[in-house]
Amino acid sequence: MAATAETIQQVKELGDRYKYGFSTDIESDMAPKGLSEDIVRFISAKKEEPEWLLEWRLKAYRHWLTMPEPEWAFVDFPQIDYQDAYYYAAPKTGDKPKSLDEVDPKLLETYAKLGIPLREQEVLAGVEGAPKVAVDAVFDSVSVGTTYKKQLEAKGIIFCAISEAIQTHPELVRKYLGSVVPAADNKHSCLNSAVFTDGSFVYIPKGVRCPMELSTYFRINQENTGQFERTLIIADEGSYVSYLEGCTAPMRDENQLHAAVVELIALDDAEIKYSTVQNWYPGDENGKGGIYNFVTKRGACRGRNSKISWTQVETGSSITWKYPSCILQGDNSVGEFYSVAITNNRQQADTGTKMIHIGKNTRSTIISKGISAGRANQTYRGLVRIQPGAEGARNYTQCDSLLIGDQCGAHTVPYIEAKNSSARVEHEATTSKISDEQLFYCRQRGLSDEEAVALIVNGFCREVMRELPMEFAVEATKLVGISLEGSVG
C-alpha cells in the first residue's frame, strides 16, 4: 500500500526532524565528573540545604549502592557508567535573577526556540480572557525562572523551584518529600533522591482552584550531564490544579540519563491533573544517542473524593521506563491514566501505570494507545490491584497498539490482582495495523493516502488527546503529526 510505505518513509525521516536538537553555549557551573558521597555533599552544599536533607540524600545514596539494576522491563541497553557523567550543571548567572530581565538573554533565547513564551506571558497578562500559564523553567539542573509568582502568591499558592521551597517552606517539603515515592523505591528513584538538583514545588491551599495552568519546561543542555529533577505537588483539601510538563534536549551522540521523581498528593476533595509532553531527544535512526528516560511518577489520593489524573504524550527518549501510578487510598477517590506513546526507529519504551485500590468505591480508568514504527519496541506494562478492603472498586483498562511496518514490536503485559469480590475489573487490549479497509474507506471519500493515515492515527489517539489541556493539545497533536505523518492536524 503506497500510503503505508509513505508513512514508513516519513517515520524514517523523523530522525532528521528533531527540531529541539540545538544546544546553547552558556557558561556552566559544574560539579566534578562522577558520583560519590562527596558529590552528594557538594550538591547539597551548593543548594545550601538543611542538615536533614543532606542526611536523607546520603542515606539514599548508600542504599542506591546496594541496589541491583532493574532488569524486568523489555528494554535493552548497555550498562550505565554512573561515573561517566556530571551530576550538577547550572547556568552561570552569578546571583539568582530577581526578575526575568536579569536572566541571561541566551537562556531566554533558548526558551523562545523551544516555543516557551516566558516573556510573552507578561504581555499576554494584560489581555483579557487570554489563557494564562505560569511557567517554571529548569535548565540542566537548575530552575531559571518562574513566572506569575506574584499573582499566584495572592491566592496563597506556592509555585517555585523545589530548592527554593526547601529554604522557604521546609516544613511542607519535609512532611511530604519521599512520602509517596520512598527513596528506596527503585534504583532510579533512589539515585534521584541522592542527587536531585531541582524541579518544581507546588502547594495549593485549602479550597483554592488554581486560576491558571502551572507548567514546567525541562531542558538538558550540557554534555554528559544527567538530569534529576524532583517535583512535588500537594493539593490541600478541596483544591484543584492542572500542571503541565514538557521536556526537550539537544541532539548528542552519547546517551544522557534522566531519572526524575514526581510525587503528587491529593487530600480530601482535591484534584490534580498532571499532563506531560515528553519529547527528549530520541537518538538517531540507528539508535545512537538519545535520552534514557527512567522516571518514577506516583500520586497518592490520600483524601476522600480526591482525584489524580495522569495524561502523557511520549514521543521522545531513546529508552522510556515510566509508570505514572495512583495509590487510591481515600474512599471514593479516582485515578486516571491516559497515554499516547510513539516509538520509532530504534526507540524502546516500557511504560504503563499502576492503580492500587485501597479505599472503598475507588475508581480507575486506564487508556493507553501505543504506536510503534521503524525498528522500535514498545510495551504497555500495568498493574491493577484491588486490595481486600476496596469494596465496590471499579477499574476499566483499555490498551491498544498500532503497528506501522514489519520490523517493530508492540507488547502488553498487564497484571490484574483482584482480592475483593465486590470490585469490578475489566481489561481489554488489541493490537492491529491500519487496515486496508480503513484506508480504502477514507480514500473513497476523497482523502489522499496521507490524509487518510493522518485521520486514522489521529482517531486512534483521540481518547487521550482530548484529555490534554488546550495549550498542550496543540503541541501534542503537532508532535504526533511530525512523528507519523508530517501533515497531521
Binding site: W72, I386, P388, S401, L403, I404, G405, D406, Q407, C408, G409, A410, H411, T412, V413, P414, Y415, I416, E417, A418, K419, N420, S421, S422, A423, R424, V425, E426, H427, E428, A429, T430, T431, S432, K433
Partner: protein
C-alpha cells in the same frame, strides 16, 4: 546448588538416559521455582516440597476404586500413582499404538523446572502414536489415580504423536484420595493436517498437588482443541505451551475452573505464532468461592514473520466470596504488523441486576445464583463436541460448586 532439589532428586535412577540426566542436572541447578521468578509470581510451591520428599512416610496403602469412563466406550489406560496399571492390550487397533516408556526431550526453556523434574524422575511413561490418516472412532481415556500410598510424589511423562491427517480424542481424568503430589510432563506433536481434541478433568484429591506441563507442536493445517476443567487439588497448575509451527494451523484453548475452600488453581498458557496464517483462540472461565485463589497467565507471542495472525484471549473470573482472589496476567508480545490480536480479562461478582431480574420472576436467591454461575461457565464448555462428556463435566463442576440442579444436569 539447591538442597531441596537434591532431596527431590534422591530417587533418580536414569543415569543411562542422557535426556533424563540433562533434565536432572538442570533441575538440580534451578531448584523448585519460587515466586521471585516471573512465571511463578502468583503460585508459591513451598508447601509442595515435603510431598516430593521421598523420605516421608506414605499415608495410606489400598487399592483405589476405578471410576466409570467419562466417554462411552473409550479405550482406557489406568495409571495408578504414576505407574501404568495392567497391560496395554487395547492398543494396536484403528491405527493407534500405545507403548510404555518415556521419550521426552529435556526442555531448554527457562522457568519450566517442573517439566525437568517430571522427565528426570518419571516413574513411568506412555507413548501414544497414531498412523497417518487414521481416525479411531473411540476416544482414548487416561485415568490417573493418586492414592497417597507412595512417598516422594509421582511423576509421569506422556507423548502424543499424530500422523498427518489423522484425528484423535484423548481424555485425561485425574482423581485420587489423600495427600500426594503428582507431576506430569506431556509432549504433543501434530503432523500436517492432524486434529487432536484433548479434554482434561483435573479432579484430584483436595489435599493433593497437581502440576502439569504440556508442550504442543502443531504442523501445517493441523488443529488442536484443548479443554481443561479444574475442580480438584489443594494446589494445581495446568501449564500449556503451544507452538503453531505450520501455516494454516490453529489452536483453541478452553478452560473452566471452580475453586472452593483454600484451593489454589493456576492456569498458565503460552502460544507462539511462529509462521504466517495461524490462529489461536483462548477462553478461560473461573468461579472462586471461600478463600480460594485463581491464577491465569496467558501469553501470545507473534514472531516477526508471522503475518496474518489472529490471536484472541479471554479470562473471566467470578468471585463468589469476599476472601476469594483472582490474579490475571494476559500478555501479548507482538513482532509482526499484519495481525489482529486481542485479550481481555474481567473480575467481579454476580451481577446484581441479573439476580434481581430472576428473583422478580419468582426464582429464589439460591437457584438464581446457581443459574447465573452455570450460564457464566457454559461458554467454556461449548467447545466439547461429545455431548455425553460435556454433560458429565458440567455436572462435575456444578457438583463441586454445590449448585442447585446439579443432580439432573
Amino acid at each position: 546448588m539447591d538442597s531441596t532439589a537434591e532431596i527431590l532428586l534422591e530417587r533418580f535412577s536414569g543415569d543411562a538416559d542422557t535426556d533424563r540426566t540433562a533434565a536432572r542436572d538442570r533441575f538440580r541447578d534451578a531448584g523448585l521455582p519460587t515466586p521471585k521468578q516471573e512465571a511463578w509470581k502468583f503460585t508459591n510451591l513451598r508447601p509442595l516440597a515435603q510431598f516430593l520428599d521421598a523420605r516421608t512416610e506414605p499415608a495410606n496403602d489400598s487399592r483405589p476404586a476405578i471410576p466409570d469412563t467419562l466417554v462411552d466406550g473409550a479405550y482406557r489406560v489406568l495409571i495408578i500413582d504414576g505407574r501404568i496399571d495392567g497391560d496395554l492390550s487395547d492398543a494396536g487397533i484403528d491405527g493407534l499404538s500405545l507403548a510404555q516408556g518415556s521419550g521426552l526431550q529435556a526442555d531448554t526453556d527457562s522457568g519450566r523446572a517442573l517439566r525437568d523434574l517430571s522427565i528426570a524422575m518419571a516413574d513411568d511413561g506412555l507413548r501414544i502414536t497414531l498412523d497417518a490418516n487414521a481416525t479411531p472412532p473411540r476416544a482414548l481415556e487416561l485415568v490417573f489415580i493418586g492414592t497417597g500410598s507412595r512417598s516422594g510424589g509421582h511423576h509421569f511423562t506422556l507423548e502424543i504423536a499424530l500422523g498427518s491427517n489423522s484425528a484423535l480424542t484423548v481424555v485425561e481424568h485425574h482423581l485420587g484420595s489423600n495427600a500426594y503430589a503428582a507431576t506430569l510432563a506431556t509432549d504433543v506433536r501434530l503432523a500436517d493436517g492432524a486434529r487432536l481434541r484433548h479434554v482434561k478433568l483435573q479432579d484430584e484429591s483436595t489435599e493433593a498437588f497437581h502440576l502439569s506441563d504440556c508442550a504442543v507442536e502443531i504442523g501445517r493445517d493441523a488443529s488442536h482443541e484443548r479443554f481443561v476443567l479444574s475442580v480438584g487439588s489443594r494446589l494445581a497448575r495446568d501449564e500449556v505451551h503451544v507452538a503453531l509451527n505450520g501455516q494454516g494451523s490453529s489452536v483453541r484453548l478452553l478452560g473452566a475452573y471452580a475453586g472452593r475452600g483454600q484451593q489454589h488453581l493456576d492456569h498458565t498458557t503460552h502460544i507462539d505464532h511462529a509462521v504466517p496464517n495461524t490462529s489461536s483462540h483462548e477462553v478461560y472461565k473461573g468461579v472462586l468461592d471461600d478463600r480460594s485463589r485463581g491464577v491465569f497467565q496467558g501469553g501470545i507471542r507473534v514472531m516477526k514473520d508471522a503475518q496474518k495472525t489472529a490471536g484472541h484471549q479471554l479470562n473471566k473470573a467470578l468471585l463468589l466470596s469476599r476472601q476469594a482472589e483472582i490474579d490475571s496476567k494476559p500478555a501479548l508480545e507482538i513482532y509482526a504488523d499484519d495481525v489482529v490480536c486481542s485479550h481481555g480479562a474481567t473480575a467481579g461478582e454476580i451481577d446484581e441486576d441479573a439476580l434481581f431480574y430472576l428473583r422478580a420472576r419468582g426464582i429464589d436467591a439460591q437457584a438464581a445464583k446457581s443459574l447465573l454461575v452455570q450460564a457464566f461457565l457454559d461458554e467454556a464448555f461449548d467447545g466439547i463436541a461429545d455431548e455425553g462428556l460435556r454433560e458429565r463435566l458440567k455436572d462435575r463442576v456444578h457438583g463441586a460448586l454445590q449448585l442447585e440442579g446439579a443432580a439432573h444436569g
